[in-house]
């Protein structure tokens, strides 16, 4: 076993070199470089944590803004609905009034026309009666040679006309 066979000649060199080289590893790599590597990791972790927090805050803000927008939107919609309803009611009322006015005018005209028709009919009736009376008088005079006075003739014609 060389570890034991060579112990006497080599132990000093082994101890010297491992102390020297491990010392180099510890001070240069362990103390010098490892803390920097770990600082990088820490900085990254911190960055990730802050980024996550910022993203969370932004999300919360977006939620709040959306909520506010929703409330405002609902209010606007209600307002719009109210305006529409009001306009509808107003328009309905106006239409009704106009219709009523038009109806009234039409009724007036119809009434006037009816009156005129009635008058015309009455006139025509009177004329017919007069003509018929004269004709009856004539007929009676020619056929019977009797002179009938006018009121009698008229009564007779009236009777014949109206049954």
């Amino acid at each position: 076993m060389p570890q034991i066979a060579q112990l006497a000649e080599t132990y000093a060199s082994q101890i010297f070199w491992i102390l020297l080289i491990f010392g180099f590893v510890f001070f240069v790599i362990g103390r010098g470089m490892v803390p920097k590597v770990m600082a990088t990791v820490e900085a990254r972790d911190k960055q990730i944590a802050t980024d996550l927090a910022a993203a969370e805050a932004a999300r919360k803000q977006a939620d709040e803004e959306e909520e506010a927008w929703r409330v405002q939107e609902n209010r606007r919609r209600e307002e719009a609905q109210a305006i529409i309803a009001e306009a509808k009611a107003k328009a309905g009322k106006e239409t009704e009034a106009r219709l009523a006015a038009a109806n009234a005018k039409v009724d007036d005209r119809v009434t006037a026309a009816e009156a005129k028709i009635a008058e015309a009919r009455a006139n025509a009736m009177t004329e017919i009666e007069t003509v018929a009376t004269e004709a009856a008088n004539d007929i009676v005079m020619r056929v019977a040679g009797v002179n009938v006075d006018e009121p009698t003739a008229r009564a007779a014609v009236k009777e014949a006309l109206h049954g």
Binding site: Q3, S13, I15, I18, I29, V34, V37
Partner: protein, 262 residues
């Protein structure tokens, strides 16, 4: 330890060969020759330096390499946070260095570099190397323990609720188990790495000897050994990572004792 002609010596891979400064490189009379062991320590450190340097781009969105380095630091950080708590953060550089240095040493020692004529050397299969790492860990535990708790640190050896007459005995047992820690820490890694490498070498000698034996059953033995070798190689890769993990985990558990007592 001379190998017989045509035979594979499974222990030869652990032999330390001086490369530079066999003569003259001395500190206070101790020879500090630059050996193949020191070379592989240097290679491990260099590869580790390259690996971590590749993850130093410090990008907000990491690339693959940076991701790999960060997953290792995150792994060590998580282990210390789980075992020690928030106070464990300050040990990340040490445990990271320990874990990665051992891991790279173990893995680099398994590289099939013999295919291109080089001989990988696993310095973690030498207790002179693992012992130093274990003693450093143990020393840190002692320094932190006494600095933080003073003599109260000795209460570590008396678990809560120990009956009064049992205290001297329990104290002795706990003290011994505490003092054994550096040995178990260093020996575990050294033994695991050495056993795996010896096993691979023995199996490879079966493969070679099976072919050379000239008996009908020879090639069958070779093929079976080779298949087994492939499986053991996969196992050794796992062991390389697990032993590095165990070393780092136990160090952090001992540090937990020092930080938080019981």
């Amino acid at each position: 330890m001379a190998a017989e002609e045509g035979k594979v010596d499974p222990m030869h891979q652990f032999a330390i060969e001086p490369l530079l400064g066999t003569e003259g490189w001395e500190i206070a009379g101790y020879n500090i020759a630059f050996t193949n062991s020191a070379l592989w320590m240097l290679i491990s450190a260099a590869v580790l330096l390259l690996f971590v340097a590749g993850g130093m781009k410090r990008q907000l969105v990491p690339g693959r390499w940076q991701m790999a380095v960060e997953s290792f630091t995150g792994f060590i950080d998580g282990m210390l946070a789980a075992n020690i708590g928030p106070a464990g953060k300050k040990y990340v550089p040490y445990i990271f260095s320990l874990f990665m240095f051992i891991l790279f040493a173990n893995l680099l020692g398994l590289l099939p570099l013999a295919l291109i004529g080089l001989h990988p050397f696993t310095f973690t299969s030498h207790f002179t190397a693992t012992g130093v790492l274990a003693i450093i860990s143990f020393a840190i535990v002692l320094v932190v323990g006494f600095a933080k708790h003073g003599f109260h640190f000795f209460s570590l050896f008396v678990p809560h609720g120990t009956p009064l007459p049992m205290i001297p005995l329990i104290f002795l047992i706990e003290l011994v188990s505490f003092l054994v820690r550096p040995f178990s820490l260093g020996l575990r890694l050294f033994v695991a790495m050495m056993a795996g490498h010896v096993l691979l070498e023995v199996l490879s000698s079966f493969v070679i000897n099976g072919i050379n034996a000239g008996v009908a059953i020879g090639p069958v033995v070779s093929i079976l050994s080779f298949v087994l070798m492939i499986a053991i190689c996969a196992l050794e890769l796992l062991v390389a990572a697990i032993q590095a993990y165990v070393f780092a985990l136990l160090s952090s558990l001992y540090l937990n004792d020092a930080e938080n007592l019981h």
